[in-house]
């Protein structure tokens, strides 16, 4: 297989491989790789640490029992799990329709050149970067106090819905944009109206992308704690919510409460609850990635 092209390297006047500074270049490459590795190693250590530390309490008592201040060895996080489910259900109830419809307006109806459209676009980009605690202030002032909804499941759901709305709008718009233009044109050319086209053709074709973005947005809401600190979730709750106007706590808040306790048993409990929370979030992410990979390259 050796040919005459394989000339002796030391006699070659042109350096084809080493680029003159092999050491500097190789070192540079390794430094870059280390930059990336730091984040990934950190993630691995974090996951290992909480799993090992929480392991003794990763038992059914974690979801069967209620929180307890006196007896950490028997305390569980059931009220936080049910509270999270209640709050996320209301978040989804408010955020999904508004997010989808708003995205449809921006992508299918609005004139992209108009000042108003550009203003809304910049506004959404900014909202996506507003600190989550500021949403807590909004929830406290508007939903809890001004609308007198109090520190309840529905206040938390509304607040988190506004928090994730920009994420849902942006991802839904991307999903709609990925639907080929010629499907819209095919429908419109048959005399379908804009809404018939959107509802019967464009949106169904965008469902996988919308689902992926929605799952990621809701998993962000599940992990969010800061705004709920202002909305009553920190009080000691050892009962499951009974309805939208019930008091509540959530998993991240329960973790926060246990972190503040000085006894080591509570730290173990916090670790176990973190593992539970991360398993839920990673499962949601996996589903999102699965949907994305399944439906890639449909057109």
């Amino acid at each position: 297989m050796t040919t005459t092209l394989d000339t002796a390297p030391d006699s070659a006047p042109v350096d084809l491989e080493g680029n003159g500074q092999p050491l500097v270049d190789k070192t540079f490459r390794w430094i870059l790789f280390l930059c990336l590795a730091v984040g990934i190693i950190f993630l691995a250590v974090l996951l290992a640490y909480v799993t090992i530390k929480g392991w003794p309490r990763l038992t059914p008592t974690l979801w069967e029992n209620m929180p307890s201040i006196r007896r950490p060895e028997r305390a569980g996080a059931q009220s936080a799990i049910t509270g999270t489910l209640w709050v996320i259900a209301f978040t989804a109830l408010f955020a999904l329709p508004i997010g989808f419809l708003g995205a449809v307006y921006m992508e299918e109806y609005a004139n992209p050149a108009s000042r108003f459209t550009r203003f809304v676009e910049i506004n959404i980009q900014n909202l996506a970067a507003v600190p989550s605690i500021v949403y807590g202030i909004l929830g406290l002032a508007i939903f809890a106090r001004a609308l007198a909804l109090g520190q309840t499941v529905i206040t938390a759901g509304l607040t988190l819905a506004l928090l994730v709305l920009p994420v849902i709008i942006v991802s839904t718009r991307e999903a709609l944009r990925a639907v080929p233009q010629n499907i819209r044109h095919g429908s419109l050319a048959l005399g379908a109206t804009l809404w018939q086209t959107t509802w019967r053709q464009t949106m169904p074709a965008a469902i996988p992308g919308m689902a992926t973005g929605t799952i990621l947005a809701l998993s962000r809401a599940i992990g969010e704690a800061a705004p709920l600190l202002l909305l009553g979730a920190v009080s000691f709750i050892s009962f499951n919510p009974t309805g939208p106007f019930s008091a509540y706590t959530t998993l991240p808040i329960q973790i926060f409460n246990w972190t503040k306790e000085s006894r080591e048993e509570f730290q173990i409990l916090a670790s176990a609850t973190i593992v539970l929370l991360l398993v839920i979030l990673l499962a949601m992410n996996a589903v999102a990635i699965l949907i994305r990979n399944r439906t890639q390259k449909r057109w």
């Binding site: 930059c35 307006y105 109806y109 926060f256 972190t259 979030l281």
Partner: protein, 312 residues
């Protein structure tokens, strides 16, 4: 060659006229518009909810005292409202985070964009993005229980249990994905022709990355930095859990400090009487936080638009 046009005056004769008045379409358009307008109402709601109590606050505490004095003791019998210690705490922790996140985030971005094989990229990028999906309360717990305890204490035996350093380090790691992902987008937008031109002149991969790609993507990279810093300033749970709740006018990262966000969280979570000056102080600090992050977000959005325009 005369074109005769049927005058479409008599109603209903023109077959191209609308046959039924599609009211539904109009109603739907209004509903969709309203949904899009919710985002504007949200911004409006934020501004109203921080501004009104803040104005009441500044009616009692002069804004100059708020902005330029150095004692923050809202719980004392004789409370003082000088916000500088909270700003100091925010700055110190953000600075630590930035010192970690900017080199690591940019390095990761260059590696992913210029060096990683498509296969490696497909694995590494989502893995890095998992970091962005970890709830911040978990990061706070890890900073307090692991970083302070097992990493920092052996190095700095005198470090306080609650300290700025652990919070800053973990926050830095937290914003790596933000910076890496946005920087990489900007670098990916650099036309291949620029790279090819550099290679054709005999530049190495490193020279091309540092002297061609990074400068060409600079406005996008700076946008990523600004957004990352904005996220660090607004981050609440890590500092609330790991940095302590003691306002502290110091530059020593081994001590505990309170930030703007952790003050809002602590005061808001406690039993504060509505209408009290302490209650209103939550909103005054919130207003300051909103204004700072709003300004930074706008800078970042502008910069991103700039590079998009340049390469599209």
């Amino acid at each position: 060659m005369t074109t005769t046009l049927v005058e479409s005056a008599p109603g209903g004769l023109n077959p191209l006229r609308q046959t039924k008045p599609r009211y539904g379409e109009k109603v739907i358009r209004v509903i969709l518009f309203a949904a899009a307008a919710v985002s504007i109402l949200t911004t409006f709601g934020i501004v109203i909810s921080v501004l009104i109590p803040s104005l009441e606050f500044f009616a009692e505490i002069p804004i100059t005292e708020f902005l330029f004095t150095t004692t923050w003791t809202p719980l004392f019998a004789n409370p003082q409202y000088g916000v500088l210690p909270l700003i100091m705490g925010t700055l110190v922790i953000t600075l630590i985070a930035v010192l970690i996140a900017i080199p690591l985030g940019l390095g990761s971005a260059i590696y992913l964009s210029e060096y990683a094989s498509p296969k490696a990229r497909k694995v590494l990028k989502p893995t890095l993005e998992v970091l962005a999906g970890i709830p911040t309360v978990v990061f706070g717990f890890f900073a307090l229980e692991f970083i302070t305890e097992f990493v920092l204490k052996p190095i700095f035996p005198g470090i306080q249990v609650f300290n700025a350093l652990s919070a800053g380090i973990v926050m830095g790691i937290m914003i790596i994905p933000t910076i890496a992902s946005l920087s990489e987008d900007a670098m990916a937008a650099v036309p291949a022709g620029l790279r090819d031109g550099a290679y054709a002149l005999g530049a190495t991969k490193r020279q091309t990355a540092l002297r061609v790609v990074v400068p060409a993507a600079l406005s996008g990279i700076v946008a990523a930095f600004v957004l990352g810093i904005s996220r660090a300033i607004g981050e609440t749970m890590i500092v609330t859990v790991a940095a302590g709740l003691q306002p502290n006018m110091t530059l020593n990262p081994l001590e505990g400090m309170q930030t703007m966000t952790s003050y809002i969280a602590a005061a808001g979570a406690g039993d504060v009487a509505t209408g009290s000056i302490e209650y209103k102080s939550i909103f005054a600090v919130g207003l300051l936080l909103f204004v700072i992050t709003f300004f930074m977000n706008m800078v970042s959005i502008r910069l991103v638009r700039k590079y998009r325009q340049a390469y599209q």
